[in-house]
């Protein structure tokens, strides 16, 4: 197998692990969540919205785009994503049908035709994308490709196609069985089976992912593929588990928020003894009213607003950014350019991803530091005097000078925000000298006395101790002058 053409492969690994997988997992979450919403709509009495068709089309197309965003994971993964998106589509189709369900497709054909067309288109786009990517692999990487590799790709394609068909049969079978056995609406059965279908698709994806990476990196003897596949699997299990939990735990009428009961409860708390009169029963609609299954007006407003917000956010996050990332990736990959040298627009997704990642790392670090400080303070308060590690005895002189130094340090930190736990007294002294011009000599002498008191086995003389106090006063005075503050601001 020839060496990889891209010299920046480590960067791509990074993007793959921290960019592609979380984004795809998020897309799974959105698809799954919407699918769950559509399953629950008939139960909650919400009518099917027609705009869910473009929604699903966007999501299924986006899933393919996202899959294409990484050269190393396209192919079988595209099919897997299309499978998931298609399952959501088909589920929406089932959910939109009026009860009772009739499992004779010819009878339902006129009603189901638009959904079938959409599903076929989305699935075909996944298959086409996968095949194109395989062809590119074969043509562009002749040295690493063989006929068996092409055959393997074909097997994958056929395998996933068969898996999709089997999964659909599974959906139909479970739903029909449940409906027949319990005499209930088939929607809960559909919810169950869709969750199982999503899970099945994700497991297949994990397996194919592992296989794909093993093929690519077989000669590299890296453990990375195992790690990535494991993470992929973890993400898929979490998404599926959340989806299943959502379907199982939410009550049938979860979209109907009991505003009146909440208002009553609040008024009871605010004005004890005076309760509002019991709410009037909601007007009973006429039996033939077209609004029979509609939400209350207030509920529809917030739900619609939320849906539109989600829609636009998803368009940007799932379609536009991955498209830009894909173009940037292709340019970087085929031209062998570093991402940093690409046009700014193409760097945008990676920049956003880097920003989010650095924010997350900062949050992690802050939490870690806070926990460490809390533990440190607790142990000091409980067991030992201030700033004294376990089992370490310190002289009074050392403690005294160190307390002075800590105050200086606190003030320097307040003005520079540039002191970390590992910053040494001498480094703090440099910062202090920098923000208080002309105090270099004083800082040096103070540090000398501090070091001698704290780190050496020499005792300070009384004259040195007094000098340290005077220098401390002078330095604190310099730190608190308006000029110093002004400079820092």
């Amino acid at each position: 197998m020839a060496s990889r053409p891209n010299p920046h492969i480590e960067q791509e690994f990074d993007w793959l692990e921290h960019g592609f997988i979380p984004v795809t997992a998020a897309a799974f979450g959105v698809c799954g969540g919407l699918a769950a919403l559509f399953f629950l709509q008939p139960i909650a009495g919400v009518p099917f919205f027609w705009w869910t068709v473009p929604w699903m089309l966007v999501l299924s197309t986006a899933a393919v785009y996202i899959s294409q965003a990484s050269r190393m994971t396209r192919g079988p993964e595209s099919l897997g994503l299309a499978l998931l998106a298609a399952s959501a589509l088909v589920s929406a189709w089932f959910a939109s049908l009026s009860t009772p369900l009739v499992w004779t497709l010819p009878a339902m054909a006129p009603q189901a035709a638009p959904y079938v067309i959409v599903w076929v288109l989305s699935a075909s786009s996944g298959v086409a994308a996968a095949n194109v990517s395989k062809l590119e692999d074969f043509v562009g990487d002749q040295a690493s490709s063989t006929l068996s590799w092409q055959q393997e790709s074909a097997q994958y394609t056929l395998g996933f196609f068969a898996a999709r068909l089997l999964a659909l049969l599974l959906v139909a079978g479970i739903a029909t069985g449940l409906a027949a056995a319990f005499g209930v609406s088939a929607h809960p059965g559909l919810s169950w089976s869709a969750a199982g279908l999503a899970f099945f698709g994700l497991i297949l994806q994990s397996a194919s992912y592992l296989q794909r990476l093993r093929i690519i990196w077989a000669i590299q003897e890296l453990d990375v593929h195992e790690l990535l596949a494991r993470r992929w699997l973890q993400a898929s299990i979490w998404v599926s588990a959340l989806l299943t939990a959502l379907i199982l735990l939410l009550p049938a009428n979860w979209l109907r928020i009991p505003w009146q009961a909440i208002g009553q409860w609040l008024s009871d708390r605010m004005q004890p003894g005076e309760s509002l009169p019991p709410p009037a029963p909601p007007p009973t609609p006429a039996p033939e009213s077209p609004a029979q299954d509609m939400l209350l007006e207030g509920d529809v407003h917030w739900l619609t607003a939320l849906a539109y917000m989600l829609f636009f956010a998803a368009i940007i996050a799932i379609v536009v950014l991955p498209l830009l990332a894909l173009v940037g990736f292709l340019v970087a990959y085929f031209l062998g350019e570093e991402r940093a040298k690409l046009p700014a627009l193409l760097q945008l997704p990676v920049a956003i991803y880097e920003r989010l990642r650095s924010l997350w790392q900062r949050v992690q670090r802050s939490l870690g530091r806070a926990a460490g400080r809390a533990a440190s303070v607790r142990s000091r308060v409980q067991d030992k005097p201030l700033h004294q590690p376990l089992g370490i005895a310190e002289s009074a002189q050392s403690q005294e000078l160190f307390q002075l130094f800590l105050r200086l340090r606190q003030e320097v930190h307040r003005q520079t925000s540039d002191i970390r736990p590992g910053t040494t007294p001498r480094q703090i002294g440099w910062r202090l000298a920098r923000i208080t011009p002309g105090s270099g000599q004083a800082v040096q002498v103070f540090l000398h006395h501090l070091h001698q008191a704290r780190y050496s086995h020499h005792e300070l003389t009384e004259a040195q101790r007094q000098e340290a106090h005077q220098l401390y006063e002078a330095l604190m005075g310099a730190l608190s002058t308006p000029e110093t503050r002004g400079e820092e601001q």
Partner: protein, 311 residues
């Protein structure tokens, strides 16, 4: 301690006439020497690794030998071997190049693991066992090994046990433009190393090695060294952290740096200066983190920011 500082200044100036602009590396090298440790120099060819070893040997008045490692180098080529003397009718031991006070092991990763491991006893215990008989090596005994970080074909990477035996790992790095100009100017005529004289002697070096052990390390800083070393064991990028040998080396290196600065006590900055050269090469990183560009140096630098100096 002022005596040590005086000698240090003269050695530094002596070496500085041959190796231009590498004060920090020379200071760390001398810290390793005075601590009784050994140094691994990892750098590209042509930056002065061999010249540094030769100028150090010349400045200290120590005997100097060089071993050029190749895959067919045998352990006996380093330690020496017994040869039958027909005239005396007995086996006579012919000492190998390891019997020198300063030994330069050039391109150590080109030698086979068997040959590399023959250096273990020499470096750890300053003695050689050949034909069942143990022979002491001359004192001070200081090994400087070099390896090229960019060539991996036909090399045998040093095992962790061997890496841990190196007190410090240093890199000289390319000189700046000004320094390179100075080098070209200095090497117009005869090479300055030919005129390099000794400015101290091996006995003085041994005295300093003993004296440095008495440099005071406060309890606070001892605790800091321990916490710093322990933090390498829990770092997310690290598969295998620094060993207790690592914390001891950090302790000794901080003492030596304090001594070279003319102090009889260690400051936190001494510990921090020594941390990367002493600890970074002792870490075994997780493969996936290495792929992302993590290095031992970066891990230690990160920990130096995070681990509190003074609690």
């Amino acid at each position: 301690m002022t005596e040590l500082q005086k000698h240090y200044q003269s050695i530094r100036e002596n070496i500085g006439s041959v190796i231009i602009g590498k004060d920090r590396q020379v200071r760390l090298l001398l810290a390793a020497l005075f601590s009784g440790g050994h140094v691994l120099l990892e750098d590209v060819p042509g930056v002065g690794k061999t010249m540094l070893a030769r100028s150090l040997a010349a400045s200290l008045g120590c005997s100097f030998n060089r071993v050029q490692c190749t895959p067919d180098l045998l352990p006996s080529d380093i330690t020496g071997t017994s040869v039958y003397d027909q005239k005396e009718e007995e086996f006579v031991f012919h000492p190998g190049p390891v019997f020198a006070q300063i030994l330069l092991v050039d391109e150590i990763n080109r030698a086979t693991p068997r040959t590399q491991s023959s250096l273990l006893e020499c470096m750890a215990e300053a003695q050689v066992t050949v034909d069942g008989r143990t022979r002491k090596l001359p004192q001070p005994f200081f090994v400087m090994a070099t390896q090229n970080p960019v060539e991996y074909e036909g090399t045998f990477p040093l095992p962790e046990a061997q890496l841990d035996r190196f007190f410090l790992k240093l890199s000289l790095g390319y000189p700046s433009a000004d320094e390179e100009n100075t080098i070209l100017n200095a090497l117009r005529g005869a090479h300055p190393i030919d005129a390099l004289g000794a400015c101290t002697d091996p006995d003085t070096v041994i005295q300093f090695q003993k004296a440095l052990r008495d440099i005071h390390v406060s309890d606070v800083l001892r605790d800091y060294i321990v916490r710093l070393t322990q933090s390498t064991r829990g770092h997310s990028s690290v598969q295998l952290g620094a060993s207790p040998r690592g914390s001891l080396a950090l302790y000794r290196a901080a003492q030596a740096l304090a001594g070279l600065a003319g102090r009889d006590y260690v400051e936190p900055d001494d510990v921090q200066e020594a941390a990367v050269p002493v600890l970074a090469h002792r870490l075994m990183l997780r493969p996936e983190q290495e792929l992302r560009g993590a290095t031992g140096q970066r891990v230690i630098e990160e920990l130096l920011q995070q681990v509190a100096v003074d609690l």
